[in-house]
Subunit: 267 residues, 2 copies
DNA sequence: AAGTGGTCTAGACCACCAT
DNA sequence: TGGTGGTCTAGACCACTTA
């Protein structure tokens, strides 16, 4: 059904790439929802008419991209945005001693607005397109830590209201996924140093002019389509941003079984 | 020779892990040096007495960890720290428009010192152990951008002198590798916002008190043994730090053939 | 043309999880 | 005990590089 010279995929590209694309299409179409188990590998292999090794190679890439999660003896699952997962992949702030904890979130504002030039570019929407603009204050150990400004296109989140947003039972990315079928699978962040203006200083309980870390994040779904543009201002007196690169994608994978995640990561 | 229940490796751990360890030992021992080609996969497979698929799985992990580089039709090579590689994996500063360029480096000072408590902890050496302390000023487009303070243990770099360091024909990590046999394969970075003191401000050509991005990097070799502790202060008026996470380890791999690397990375 | 890595097959068997 | 993913084999053939 996929076979050589079939539709959509480039001639000569390997089968497992075509299988991967088919799986992603099925995922994007909602054939299996977040948290669901996929059919067994043997079943999928025969469905796509490839050997099991080929099927495993396709699934393996999706696992490395954090789109699927494999658990030996149980099955292969669509990654779900629970708290642990969000903390692990998208929250890069740790205390100076290296420990990581859940922040508490306070919603400061939720309003309708129109995209300015920068936001429009980041979200790949026209300038002036309707957006939601949300501001959150995150605290750790009771102290103000981080000020978030989140911008999302209204066209992607029809029917979203302040009440729905405020009363979400889980993380923001879980809300995107469960209520709007949008799975955030990747993010790109740019960081710079800036200073606190008067309003920000008051909210973060620092002196005006204090140095703050500014993080601009674009969160993306399948095929790198942008979903959210987020600007964070962080007080780095007690906490810092971490970025561990090189090897150890393997380690991240090993920590996957979400329910068993340890919440303190040693320096 | 490796086979079930053999030395060193845990019982029941898969063959390919044992093969990987054997390869890393051979690498660490210097059996193949940076830039060298390894024997063909078929040869290695018979040497370790495993099927080629198993050998490929071991090599594949080392490739993902950037320790080896595969090139179809040519062979498998020990990753070498040329300029492109260093820029790609360890230099995370880009211009605001997203383009990346080579900085010029000016050596400010090179001196012998003793490790303070923080440095000793980061380098896993005793407090007060002998170290080299090096300061560099990096410029981009002729303008001062970044002030580096590099600390390395003298015991790891016997015979290093200011002249050798200053006259290195390539990158700093290339020098570590070619002159001392130490390959940096991984780094962990912590970021915070700070302000410029008078001396730093003068060097970076900014106002005292200006916000600066502070990066603390620990660079590691095989088995996560620390090699270098580096503290960078960055003027982020025109440039910023980037961190792209999630998928696309695959993309990094695709960009591998070093000589063909494009030097401008679009936003 | 010879040599390299890359893909793919069609199984067998092992380790783990649920029941 | 039956089902799942994980490992491993012993090939065949393809795609790419170099001489």
């Amino acid at each position: 059904m996929i076979r050589k010279l079939s539709a959509g995929t480039p001639v000569g590209s390997p089968f497992y790439k075509a299988v991967k694309v088919s799986l992603m299409n099925a995922l994007a179409k909602g054939e299996w929802k977040a948290g669901d188990a996929l059919p067994a590998e043997r079943v999928l292999a025969s469905r796509f008419d490839v050997a099991i090794g080929t099927l495993r190679k396709a699934v393996g890439e999706l696992v490395r991209e954090h789109i699927l999660v494999r658990q030996q003896g149980r099955g292969t699952f669509v990654a779900a945005h629970d708290r642990d997962r969000t903390m692990f992949y998208f929250f890069h702030i740790v205390r100076h001693d290296g420990t990581k904890e859940y922040p508490t979130v306070e919603l400061l504002s939720f309003r309708r607005a129109l995209a300015d030039a920068q936001t429009a570019a980041k979200l790949a929407i026209p300038k002036g397109a309707p957006v939601f603009e949300i501001r959150n204050l995150l605290r750790l150990d009771g102290r103000p830590l981080l000020l978030d400004q989140i911008v999302i296109a209204r066209s992607l989140f029809p029917g979203l209201t302040k009440k729905i947003f405020r009363d979400r039972p889980n993380t923001i990315y879980h809300l995107y996924q469960s209520a709007f079928g949008i799975s955030v699978v990747r993010s790109a962040e740019r960081l710079r140093a800036t200073t606190a203006d008067a309003a920000t200083a008051a909210l973060l309980d620092v002196q005006p002019g204090s140095p703050l870390l500014e993080i601009r994040r674009v969160a993306m779904t399948y095929a790198d389509a942008p979903v959210e543009f987020r600007r964070s201002l962080v007080n780095t007196d007690r906490h810092e941003y971490f970025s561990d690169l090189g090897a150890n994608e393997a380690l991240a994978g090993a920590a996957q079984p979400a329910a068993r995640l340890s919440h303190s990561i040693s320096a």
